[in-house]
């Protein structure tokens, strides 16, 4: 529901909002695209950020491919369900049959609920004249924080998060909206690739 509300408040149409939940179906990327657009950034900066956030799903796919063993049209369908939650549910099982079952059930359930919630949230917000009165401009940062928090259970991720926030704020006055995110993505990639493994 929160995605539908935030997306509509950011200025996306009802159809665009629902299209994102059906076609993109990966929460952090969806929130990032509408967040950048809502903050006055270009939709392309938002699209690039969404794609960068989606890169982790490729790694999930690698872990899932041997478990799921899907081919042909099943793989085309399964790919859309490769997200944080389905991966967590599938790899938590010991037996590949249970893994497959957990993956498909979680995927279908979440896909249905996520799209239904998006529609309800978007419809509810559509009728509001000024979403700011309801504090909806404060909703995206809270959503990003809630998505970030489970990834911060160690010192290094926390340090990366703080450094990224500081860099983004420092460059913000000098570049168009949305571009600080791309600068941060570039820097963290360089850091990850160049750093000597311990």
């Amino acid at each position: 529901m929160s995605f539908g509300a935030i997306s509509t408040a950011a200025g996306l149409s009802l159809l665009q909002t629902c299209a994102l939940s059906v076609l993109m179906f990966t929460g952090a990327s969806q929130f990032a695209l509408v967040g950048v657009v809502g903050a006055g950034g270009s939709v392309w900066a938002g699209a690039a950020t969404a794609a960068l956030l989606g890169s982790r799903n490729a790694l999930y796919g690698v872990r899932l491919s041997s478990l799921l063993d899907v081919r042909g049209w099943r793989r085309v369908l399964a790919a859309q369900f490769v997200i944080d939650e389905t991966t967590a549910m599938a790899i938590a099982r010991d037996d590949p049959r249970q893994s497959r079952f957990a993956f498909w059930v979680t995927g279908l359930t979440l896909f249905t609920l996520w799209n239904l919630g998006t529609l309800i949230g978007a419809l509810a917000t559509h009728s509001l004249s000024n979403p700011k009165t309801f504090g909806l401009d404060a909703a995206p940062p809270a959503a990003f924080l809630a998505l970030l928090a489970p990834r911060l259970r160690a010192h290094e991720p926390l340090a990366i998060a703080i450094a990224a926030a500081v860099v983004a704020i420092i460059v913000l006055p000098f570049v168009p909206a949305g571009v600080p995110l791309l600068i941060v993505a570039l820097l963290v990639t360089l850091f990850g690739v160049l750093r000597k493994p311990r």
């Binding site: 935030i6 665009q16 299209a19 994102l20 076609l23 993109m24 990966t26 952090a28 990032a32 903050a39 939709v43 392309w44 938002g46 699209a47 969404a50 956030l53 989606g54 982790r56 799903n57 490729a58 790694l59 999930y60 796919g61 690698v62 491919s65 041997s66 793989r75 790919a79 859309q80 490769v82 009165t133 504090g135 404060a138 909703a139 995206p140 940062p141 809270a142 959503a143 990003f144 924080l145 809630a146 998505l147 970030l148 990834r151 911060l152 990224a164 926030a165 500081v166 983004a168 704020i169 913000l172 570049v175 600080p180 995110l181 941060v184 993505a185 820097l187 963290v188 990850g192 690739v193």
Partner: protein
């Protein structure tokens, strides 16, 4: 214009998911890839929190959204569910504007 961004970004996100299931495993098993890719969402989400709280366009601002973020941090530390975190932040901003 928004439609083009929506469709291209959706295609890119789907392509990444499909690539993970389809590409030879060793391509993505490189230690540098395994190390770097999980860092990207951490950095981007943190940058999104910061920029969306403290900016209006290209200006840095301090307004009710900062108070909303503090409340959201408390909610996250207390392990509140996603929707609750978002709702209390929005509520804080709405109340802050009323005062």
């Amino acid at each position: 214009m928004i439609w083009a961004g929506v469709l291209v970004a959706s295609a890119a996100c789907y392509g990444l998911k499909l690539a993970g299931l389809s590409l030879p495993e060793r391509w993505l098993q490189d230690p540098r890839v395994q190390r770097t890719v999980p860092m990207i969402p951490i950095a981007l989400l943190a940058a999104l929190v910061a920029t969306q709280t403290f900016s209006a366009g290209r200006h840095l601002v301090l307004d009710v959204r900062a108070a909303a973020l503090v409340v959201a941090i408390v909610a996250v530390v207390l392990r509140a569910p996603f929707l609750v975190v978002v709702a209390v932040a929005a509520l804080t901003a709405a109340l802050g504007r009323l005062l």
